[in-house]
């Protein structure tokens, strides 16, 4: 339940998990639902999962829908593009909303406001209405940003990659699970006697209801920060209210955010594009049944259960020894390999080889997503939401561009499109080489001895703001991020377990 911080407490609350100076958990215990950290984790990933299920509920049923609504390949391509383009700006807006209002309200509001689009999918009757419902439903996957923001607020740097990776991965799982769930639900309804063209419409109520219920859970059981909710903390003075224009400004002027936005477009963006086309690809190319195509397509998204968390965990493990430089190198290598497997996927002609290569491709590309969000929490402290939003939005831009260039209409066969997409992945991952942190280094340059973590994070605040004491949270974060130097360097003075005495 919520912690009411209207009255300042004499000592901070006790937590089930060990925490750092910012009350963020330094351990990640998957099977616990202890408030507030692990509970936030479970609420975040389940609500995000439901949004993914809704957004990608149409593709596995497209063989039915395309006949009911008289869609052409171009219509289908456009709807697929629309599904991922809405979230481009929604993710950026979401990032800002998290910085200002907190992830709990931001995500629950978005989820409840987009559920009507999912309900209205049941009454779509033309290519235009189909495109519109997919467009508005797609806004819901901006909850990715609130999920990552929430995890970065609840978990400390030794485990932030893991928390982000598991939450993001298990949410993205929805894109795979839906390829199994929707054909199953459709079949069940069809067997009770409904026409095919009615059964798919009824089936859409399932993801819609799931989405509604998960939003309620977030509102009732969630809280923004270990100490309480934004509004409560702002009113009690424990969390200073920041200005939107400054938060936004500091976010967009950080070039690292832009590079990560581009590279994320070519791991996550590619994942979304493939979620949209893979069922139809297997159905049409190998003449499979709807069921079977859905099963194979599902395995692509289902790999998220281990691949994206694996990427996050790998990021944290590598960082222990090699710090931020290790995180960057691993990101580049894994994502490039994903591109290589993508090229191969478009070239293989047999069903079994396609499945094997597709699984390899999914593992690498999704791990790259997890690795990206091992780097993102460190780009900015003040504008964490905006950076998360930019990166997340960049993911959707990548999905949009990829579908626009390679999978719209009948210009390229799907196989050719897939191979070309692989080439684009490799090219657009190269900018990782350019990311450089003065205090930690980059892929090819070592750190500068003159810069510390404090210098980097304090550069986001001017002297007036520092006089007001607005920068204290960033200072704590800078100290806690010292282990990104690598080689086992720990945070300087703070004890890392049990109760924090103020």
């Amino acid at each position: 339940m919520e912690v009411q911080s209207g009255v300042p407490e004499s000592h901070p609350p006790k937590f089930a998990l060990p925490v750092d100076s910012e009350q963020k958990a330094t351990e990640f215990r998957l099977f616990s639902v202890a408030a507030p950290h692990m509970r936030a984790f479970h609420l975040a990933w389940v609500s995000f999962f439901s949004c993914f299920v809704s957004t990608f509920a149409a593709p596995p049923l497209l063989p039915i829908i395309r006949d009911n609504l008289n869609l052409t390949s171009t219509d289908i391509g456009n709807a697929g593009i629309a599904a991922v383009s809405g979230a481009v700006f929604a993710r950026l807006a979401m990032g800002t909303a998290c910085d200002l209002f907190g992830p709990r309200l931001a995500s629950a509001s978005l989820i409840l406001l987009t559920t009507p689009a999912v309900y209205f999918t049941s009454i779509a009757s033309s290519p235009v209405s189909f495109l519109l419902v997919r467009f508005f439903t797609g806004f819901s996957i901006a909850t990715f940003v609130s999920t990552q923001f929430w995890m970065s607020s609840m978990f400390s740097s030794p485990v932030v990659g893991t928390a982000n990776g598991v939450a993001g991965g298990w949410g993205n799982l929805g894109g795979g699970a839906t390829q199994l769930i929707m054909p199953l639900v459709f079949d069940l309804i069809h067997h009770t006697g409904a026409d095919k063209f009615t059964a798919w419409r009824i089936a859409f109520f399932i993801p819609a209801l799931f989405q509604t219920l998960s939003a309620f859970a977030v509102l009732i059981f969630g809280q923004d920060l270990p100490d309480g909710n934004f509004r409560g903390l702002q009113k009690s003075g424990d969390k200073p209210k920041d200005k939107f224009s400054l938060v936004f400004y500091h976010g967009i002027r950080n070039y690292r955010g832009w590079i990560l936005a581009l590279t994320y477009g070519y791991c996550f963006g590619v994942e979304l594009a493939v979620d949209n086309i893979i069922a139809e690809y297997f159905y049409d190319r190998f003449n499979l049944k709807l069921h079977t195509a859905g099963l194979i397509a599902a395995s692509f998204g289902l790999a998220n259960v281990i691949s994206r968390p694996g990427g996050g965990i790998l990021s944290d493990v590598v960082a222990k020894r090699f710090g931020m430089r290790g995180r960057l190198w691993t990101l580049w290598v894994v994502q490039t390999l994903g591109g290589v497997f993508c090229i191969i996927l478009g070239r293989v002609g047999s069903l079994s080889a396609s499945i094997v290569v597709m699984i390899a491709f999914s593992l690498f590309v999704q791990a790259a997503c997890g690795l990206t969000f091992g780097v993102v929490p460190f780009v900015s402290r003040r504008s964490l939401g905006v950076i998360s939003g930019m990166t997340g939005g960049g993911g959707n831009v990548g999905a949009l561009l990829t579908q626009l260039i390679f999978f719209k209409g009948s210009k390229y066969s799907k196989e050719t499109g897939i191979s070309l997409m692989g080439v684009m992945i490799i090219c657009c991952t190269l900018p990782v080489w350019l990311i450089y942190y003065p205090q930690w280094g980059g892929m090819f340059c070592g750190p500068s001895n003159k810069h510390t973590e404090e210098d980097y994070y304090m550069s986001e605040w001017n002297s007036v703001e520092k006089e007001k004491g607005l920068h204290h949270a960033s200072l704590k974060f800078a100290d806690n991020s010292r282990n990104e130097k690598g080689g086992g360097v720990k945070a300087a003075a703070m004890p890392t377990d049990g109760v924090q005495m103020a």
Binding site: T72, L113, T115, P116, F120, R201, T212
Partner: protein, 203 residues
Amino acid sequence: MAARGVVLASILLFSCFLETCCGMISFSSLQRTLLVTASHRQALLKAGEDKITVTWGLNQSFPAGTDSAYKTIKVRLCYAPISQVDRAWRKTDDNLSKDKTCQFNIVKRPYSNGNQTLEWTIEREVPTATYFVRAYALDANGNEVAYGQNTDAKKSTNLFDIQAITGRHVSLDIASVCFSVFSVVSLMGFFIAEKRRARKSQQ
């Protein structure tokens, strides 16, 4: 280069033989020996409601004995070219096992000499498109050996349109609207409740 060309050509030739010997039938190898007509009322046909009367039989201008191998007749509803544009899942392929032109079964009957007629009610699941009717004659192994269709070779005459069911129902429409309104209203309800609680804890 020339040697490679020869190898490629011989592989292609071999695979063609392989196809015909191992059961992959090409449409262009079939003889058009059947006469097929399809008649219907003059308005837009509705799936699940309207009927089409199909007749088929051997074209008498062919010599007697042409139909000696015909054991079964398979009559199907096929997409006209205009309904195949930009829809790769309805593509025409000369290889009959890959061909997706004729996706709906009208009837499958043992072959008998003389003309046959059937009044077929259009199935409820037929999508909105332009169609023609084609009949395949199958031999004892179930392989196509001849065909006939109610349109010309270019598939441009005698086509007819069918309008599909929408699949929508009033109850679904109402449920969609109600649930949507409920989602938005409940969000507002939460906000109001939060504000009240925050105000109460401040007092």
